[in-house]
Symmetry: C2
Subunit: 264 residues, 2 copies
């Protein structure tokens, strides 16, 4: 059986990491990217060069565009200002890709929405977009249908998520990703200081994350001195960290938090 | 070319997670486990049943044992006391497997050492011991040679690590593993409260760790509101966490630490 999908004409406002991956994934799924906008025309050209016949531009006047979906993929700060300046063809849909901004940021757009890929992107690293969860929100049902179809054409996991829920997901993502990465950075700082190899820790890091994800409940696989409330080890490790007050404060706070959670 | 290895006779004091995996890996590599000790004879029997002809025991008198290497794999707290009680055959080697205890904990043992696998073990989950880094330390050269040979027969990465270095590695491991797991637990708590699926965060978690390990330098791939010093998002996320003071305190402290590190 051949499965047909609706093919959409899409334009990107922004040519950064998110646009980079989404634009290529959408074309791979049979959609056509019409324009790529960036303030810096060279950036727009770089992404357009990766696409079939997308036109790079540094103008926000899309009144002549054939696109029916406009995807803004720029920083949160610029969002409201850029939305104000964009001139759209009538009846088109406009979305942003932010984890934190409410859909209402797209003031004055009757067919607007959010098309938020819950993933961290960098240009130099391939991402399997099929595995990226997309959080969809729309201001009306027709727009919602289009955004769901568009997301489902490139990803296996598409969720309808309200602005309030998306905000909470983003906070959880900060804990699960930004903060965990920072702890890995601190671990590296600790071994670097003594000229020990970070490589030594890698199998342990991998196993920790596999276990937490496989268990589907990280608290059930918590190990270490805090989980055992092993005060002798805790005290000795805290003492060692005295010359590094930032690390020591974090050590104390997370240890106390683990002990509290274990006692719940 | 057939590679031959020295075959050692090994006994385990302890039948927990570490003994469970090491004993089986050593037999698979051609060594022979003679005895498995546990205070609780049933635990010793359970592990012995996984081995060729190991004898389960709850006695610490090994004076008649044919083993030449004794591996203590019990909790840190019990180590000194158990070492005091063990009766060994003359000339044999005794080691512990602890990340935190100095080699000197094995008081009165001329041929002693540390055989520390830098990994988190649980009985229910297979671990590829070949990929586990082993940290070796010994009180004399002959013992060191035996422990290195033993470790290399089951693992690709064997390091000579002093007690002081091992202590630091263990602290780094607490940051990289126990603390990161706790942050994943908090992330789950945050999404659970709103009945959002933890699954939504999994691809992001996987990507974060792949990236940090591939970059070999987590600080270079740090992302998120703190890394951008995006005070609007930071303030809004902190405000959201006001009813959850434990999470809010951790959020503030780690955010400040990321900002400080980015400014270095």
């Amino acid at each position: 059986m051949v499965q047909t999908i609706d093919s959409y004409k899409v334009s990107f406002i922004g040519a950064g990491n998110v646009a980079w991956h989404l634009a290529q994934a959408l074309e791979y799924a049979g959609h056509v990217v019409q324009e790529v906008y960036s303030r810096n025309l060279m950036h727009a050209q770089q992404l357009a060069a990766k696409l079939y016949h997308a036109v790079p531009t540094n103008s926000l006047d899309f009144s002549k565009s054939k696109a029916n979906v406009f995807i803004i993929a720029i920083s949160d700060d610029g969002l409201a200002g850029v939305n104000e300046q964009i001139i759209l063809p009538e009846g088109s849909i406009i979305v942003h890709t932010s984890g934190t901004m409410p859909v209402e940021t797209l003031v004055g757009r009757p067919n607007s929405g959010v098309f938020y890929p819950l993933q961290t992107f960098s240009k130099i690293k391939k991402v399997d977009v099929q595995c990226v969860p997309f959080c969809i929100e729309a201001t009306n049902e027709t727009t919602e249908d289009v955004l769901i179809a568009l997301a489902q054409s490139i990803s296996n996991t598409v969720y309808l998520i309200s602005s309030a829920e998306r905000k909470i997901l983003h906070i959880a993502a900060v804990f699960a990703c930004n903060f965990t990465n920072h702890l890995l950075a601190l671990a590296k700082e600790i071994v670097d200081r003594e000229e020990l190899e970070f490589d030594l820790l890698k199998p342990l890091i991998q196993e920790t994350f596999h276990k937490a994800l496989a268990a589907n409940d990280p608290v059930s696989v918590q190990t270490g001195p805090a989980a055992r409330n092993d005060q002798k080890v805790i005290q000795s490790q805290q003492d060692y960290l005295t010359p590094f007050p930032d690390e020591q404060k974090i050590y104390k706070m997370l240890t106390e938090s683990i002990i509290r959670k274990a006692a719940e």
